[in-house]
């Protein structure tokens, strides 16, 4: 075939793929919102769920979703920050560093159901937490960790070496340099990483079924970390698979739209933040 014709065809195909990717996403999100938005009433958002009758809400699940998200981000955020500082500021090429890097990469590909079973054995069973918000948060932290470490390390490494040298030359210790110079410069990148990881963790379910459980506390907004902690995503799966309520399709549509809205909101924030960081 004539190279010029081939070139034309290739460009058309590539454009078609790009447009298709965007169109598919719009159809997907549009369909979910079209089906789910009419369900989202105050009663649905903040009401208690019902096991048998129609008209139950998802209030406790909504609360648990964010409670578990914040707990797990807090837990994994602290460890990830420490690990990333070590990897970017201190680590030399030793066996320990290589092992830590291999572990971080491997952890990122471990299927979430495997992490869920691990959480079930260790947190729920061995440490005796039961199906609880705490057990779920700890298991979810395992999922967040690798992504947080990677993005935090990248943003720490992006801080110019001259900043560190200037600080050290002024007589600051290494820790003072990290705390007063490196971390503030990398702040924007670290926040981006936290939001990216949070956006992904909020819809996670396989990891939570056997750690946070499929039931909720009888009290609305129960801060007790040992209460059962079913989240929105788990509830969607549960009503479709096992639930007995007659309006389960409505509930699932409502949860689907709610999750999409939350994810859209986080991603819009992320875009605004990235735009702002680029301008500075």
């Amino acid at each position: 075939m004539n190279p010029k014709t081939m070139d034309k065809i290739a460009k058309i195909v590539l454009w078609a793929v790009g447009v298709f990717l965007i169109a598919l996403l719009i159809v997907f999100i549009g369909y979910m919102l079209y089906k789910g938005l009419p369900i989202l009433s105050l009663q649905f958002l903040f009401g208690m769920p019902s096991d048998i009758e129609a008209g139950g809400g998802v209030g406790p699940q909504l609360f648990n979703t964010f409670y578990i998200l914040f707990l797990s981000m807090g837990l994994s955020g602290i460890v990830a920050l420490g690990a990333a500082i070590y990897l970017s500021e201190y680590a030399k090429d030793t066996w320990l560093t290589r092992f830590i890097r291999l572990s971080t990469e491997s952890l990122a590909t471990v299927p979430s159901i495997v992490l869920g079973l691990f959480g079930m054995v260790v947190f729920v069973d061995y440490l005796g937490m039961g199906f609880s918000i705490l057990g779920g948060s700890l298991a979810l932290s395992l999922l967040n960790l690798p992504l947080l470490v990677r993005i935090t390390e990248q943003s720490l490494r992006a801080v110019p070496q001259t900043y560190r040298e200037a600080s050290l030359a002024l007589g600051a210790t290494k820790w003072q340099t990290i705390r007063k110079v490196v971390l503030p410069s990398a702040f924007g990148g670290i926040i981006t990483g936290i939001m990216l990881a949070g956006g992904r963790a909020i819809g996670e379910s396989a990891i939570l079924i056997f750690t946070a459980g499929t039931t909720v506390s009888r009290h609305m907004g129960d801060f007790d970390v040992f209460a059962a902690g079913e989240t929105l995503a788990v509830h969607l799966w549960y009503v479709m698979g096992i639930g007995l309520v007659p309006d389960r399709i409505d509930i699932a549509n409502g949860i689907g739209a709610l999750l999409i809205i939350i994810v859209l909101f986080i991603n819009l924030l992320l875009m605004a933040l990235q735009k702002k960081l680029k301008m500075v």
Binding site: L14, Y31, M32, T109, V114, V122, L259, I266
Partner: protein
């Protein structure tokens, strides 16, 4: 040396140990993961022979039959079929994103790919269950619409963001001078992409595809909702079957902890864990290989 100096130097040492222990937690998690999952899973072999587990397709826990071949084949099938569609589509998307799309298009496509990644897998599964399953049933005139075809279809979409973002990074990293040299010699845009850019970025593209496969084989919720969850070997792409992760999530709730049944589910998780670590080893081997020395 005054008191202030002593304390700040002591702090300096102290935080070093804090950071190194935080980093070691990551290593510790992987070790603990391997120990706990294999300790529970390998107990299966006290009652079930490895040959039966890996090569028998008779899964009937009530009759003490624990052959997991159905689920292993199911997992491999959905992974292969989804990568056959999602892989090429993802690489084309990555070429478009990294090399052809004008800035305004890139500003739409990049967030779109982040969104693909952020949509929860239960939502993918739910759409699969309520839209794709009935559609497959009507279009192909099959009995249920559940099965490997539908699962692979959903998975092909779910692995797109992984493949695209990693492959696009590799394509962007190809030095501009290589392309300019090729264009200057009279090559067309596509000749440059095909003969220069793609081979140079090949290790990164393969990494994206392997990580896409890792995502496909471990995906639980979306597959569980559309695969049919029947422990039988798939006779066609449209007959209900099951995969390793979907079988775990369906049966784990009903099994007594520590029973042969429960242990065999842990053994399936161990198989998944080993596959995913194996894939990381492959990725590392590939990325240490550079097509072009620059």
């Amino acid at each position: 040396m005054n008191k202030y100096n002593v304390s700040r130097i002591r702090n300096n040492k102290l935080v070093y140990w804090l950071f190194i222990s935080a980093a070691s937690v990551l290593g510790l998690i992987i070790v603990a993961l391997l120990i706990f999952i294999s300790q529970q899973g390998l107990q299966t072999f006290r009652d079930v022979s490895p040959i039966e587990f890996f090569f028998s397709s008779n899964w009937n826990p009530d009759a003490n039959k624990f052959g997991a071949l159905i689920f292993i084949i199911g997992s491999l099938a959905v992974t292969v079929f989804s990568i056959l569609v999602g892989g090429p589509l993802g690489v084309l998307g990555a070429i478009f994103l990294a090399k052809l799309a004008p800035r305004w298009m890139r500003n739409i496509l990049q967030p779109a790919i982040n969104l693909y990644m952020a949509i929860p897998s239960v939502v993918y599964g739910f759409i699969g269950l309520t839209v794709i399953v009935p559609a497959v049933r009507n279009i192909f005139g099959v009995a249920s619409g559940f099965g490997i075809f539908t699962a692979s279809f959903i998975l092909a979409i779910m692995i797109l963001p992984t493949v695209i973002s990693i492959a696009a990074d590799a394509l962007t990293a190809v030095p501009q001078v290589l392309e300019e040299g090729s264009i200057a010699l009279g090559a067309t845009y596509w000749q440059t992409i095909w003969h220069i850019v793609l081979p140079t970025a090949l290790p990164g593209i393969i990494t994206g595809i392997v990580l896409g496969m890792a995502r496909a084989i471990g995906e639980t919720m979306a597959v569980q909702m559309v695969i049919g969850n029947t422990p039988q070997l798939a006779k066609s792409l449209f007959s209900p079957t099951s995969t390793l992760p979907s079988e775990i999530v369906v049966e784990m709730g009903n099994t007594p902890f520590g029973s042969v049944w429960g242990n065999s589910l842990f053994l399936m998780a161990l198989v998944l864990l080993i596959i995913s670590i194996f894939m990381i080893v492959i990725v590392r081997k590939i990325s240490s290989y550079k097509a072009v020395k620059i």
